[in-house]
């Protein structure tokens, strides 16, 4: 029976012709847009996660403490909430690092009358300490240390980045929703046209006593088929775009975001897109069901 109803639905789809093609194209467009924003957003999210891992907060000290005092200070800081690890950097080590950074110009450092660099504590925050609120609270706590002269580093710029990522996601969702609505309306129109073309069949089906779900099922199925075809096309478009543009964008992405390569959508997301397409088409088919001319 299901095979027969599926056959009827395919027959309906052929009948709907160009309107069905338009509906499929709109579903493709809406899901491809949604998928593209999803892809960008997830890559940005990955970059944000990497940035968070590299976050360091530096506490510059008023004076260089003796070794035992430095160890005690580091231990005190390590026990603070939001701190994952602490490393003490003495004045000499800081100057050594500067020399490495300067490379062939390292002699500039040697010409200094005395070492101007302060001793410091390099703090790696925990995951909670890496969030905007967590980092702010940690900086406030560190500022209360009597040994502290100045606090450097922070996560404001990462949070701005994460905010941008969320905005991109919401914008993508908005564009996807508008296109999805248009797709539903087009599927509804296509199904309504099919209803007109199918009126004779439906009349015969009712006259011979076919159950109502059998009468309606082909309409629902043809809507779902339009949705599924649109989703398959959308995934195909995304794969092609990823294959063509990915390698060209990777150097830029690596430079700006520090992400080695652009990741494609995970299989679960692809399945979700397929289901979303089928659902969109099904909703279109269902909406057409309720119309009076049905």
């Amino acid at each position: 029976m299901f095979g027969f109803l599926l056959g009827e639905a395919l027959r309906d789809l052929r009948r709907a012709g160009r309107v069905a093609v338009s509906a499929i194209m709109l579903i493709t467009l809406s899901l491809a847009a949604l998928g593209a924003f999803w892809l960008l957003s997830s890559n940005l999210g990955q970059a944000v996660a990497q940035f968070r891992e590299r976050v360091k907060i530096v506490v510059y000290l008023k004076r260089e403490p003796p070794a035992a005092e430095a160890n005690a200070l580091a231990e005190r800081v390590r026990r603070m909430p939001g701190v994952a690890s602490v490393r003490y950097v003495g004045k000499a080590e800081a100057l050594g690092t500067l020399r490495q950074v300067l490379g062939k110009d390292a002699s500039v450092a040697d010409s200094l009358p005395q070492n101007p660099l302060p001793a410091s504590l390099e703090i790696t925050p925990t995951d909670e300490g890496s969030t905007l609120e967590g980092a702010r609270a940690l900086v406030t706590r560190l500022a209360t240390l009597p040994e502290s002269d100045e606090i450097g580093g922070g996560v404001d710029w990462i949070e701005r980045f994460a905010h941008g990522q969320r905005l991109l996601w919401v914008f993508g969702l908005g564009v996807g929703a508008v296109l999805a609505l248009a797709a539903i309306l087009t599927v509804t129109t296509a199904t309504t046209l099919v209803l007109h073309a199918r009126r004779d069949e439906m009349e015969i089906m009712r006259l011979v006593g076919a159950p109502e779900h059998v009468v309606r099922m082909p309409l629902l199925l043809q809507g779902m088929m339009q949705g599924l075809m649109g989703a398959v096309l959308a995934v195909w478009v995304l794969i092609v775009c990823y294959a063509l543009l990915g390698p060209r964008l990777e150097p830029l992405v690596s430079e700006v975001l520090g992400v080695a390569r652009l990741a494609f959508l995970p299989p679960l997301t692809i399945v979700a897109l397929m289901l979303a397409g089928t659902l969109l088409g099904g909703i279109g088919g269902l909406l057409a069901r309720g119309r009076p001319e049905a």
Partner: protein, 223 residues
């Protein structure tokens, strides 16, 4: 099998009430062949529509196959119709399907297993003498052939009751005679037949029980 008790039907056309049937009562037993006759507009089609619950009476009771049809739910109406074969004056064949597909279509929508469909379609087409035209489309059929195809579609389901609403209305005498012969064969097979026609000579030629409607009233029940 069929029982009508003081049935009336009034159509409301805006503020105007148009009576189509009044005070119609009769009974048809299982296995009967009954002709329903009367001039055009006498209420034959309205009466038949009440039997397969395409419409409901405004007064009285209509009982078909043991069910009071006005009280049936949508799914019960569907179940009732599965026991009734219906043929119309305009045949109502699906234009985009062959004769075979038209007959097979109703079997498939009623859930007949695919392996049984072909045999039952050809049995029905043989019964109406149309097996050689199985692959023809409705547009390629004569009116007589189209009516025979519609009859095949109705009997393929082996209904208990066959309602034929003016199946000979568009046919010449020769073709009408062929259709009547088929109806008699179906009746001989045990199906109760209710045949509506405005052609009085056909009713007379059948020599069966005849119900005559006039202006919505049953004026004669003879034979």
């Amino acid at each position: 099998m069929i029982e009508l008790h003081r049935v009336g039907k009034v159509y409301a056309v805006g503020p105007v009430k148009v009576p189509a049937l009044s005070d119609v009562s009769f009974r048809i037993s299982k296995g009967e062949f009954v002709t329903l006759t009367g001039p055009s507009g006498s209420g034959k089609t309205t009466l038949l529509r009440l039997l397969y619950r395409e419409d409901v009476p405004t007064e009285g009771e209509v009982e078909v196959l043991g069910d009071e049809v006005s009280l049936l739910t949508r799914s019960q109406v569907a179940a009732l119709r599965r026991s009734i074969g219906i043929v119309f004056q305009d045949a109502k064949l699906l234009p985009g399907r062959t004769v075979y597909e038209n007959v097979a279509f109703v079997l498939r929508v009623l859930g007949t297993p695919r392996r049984e469909v072909t045999g039952r379609v050809f049995d029905a087409l043989r019964a109406v003498g149309l097996s050689s035209r199985a692959q023809a489309y409705p547009a390629q059929l004569s009116q007589g052939e189209a009516q025979r195809a519609a009859l095949a579609r109705a009997i393929a389901r082996k209904p208990l009751l066959l309602i034929a609403d003016e199946p000979t209305g568009n046919l010449d005498e020769g073709m009408a005679g062929e259709v009547l012969d088929i109806l008699k064969d179906i009746w001989a097979g045990g199906t109760t037949v209710l045949f509506a026609t405005h052609q009085a000579f056909l009713a007379a030629a059948l020599h069966r029980r005849t119900l005559t409607l006039q202006s919505g009233r049953l004026v004669k029940d003879e034979g």
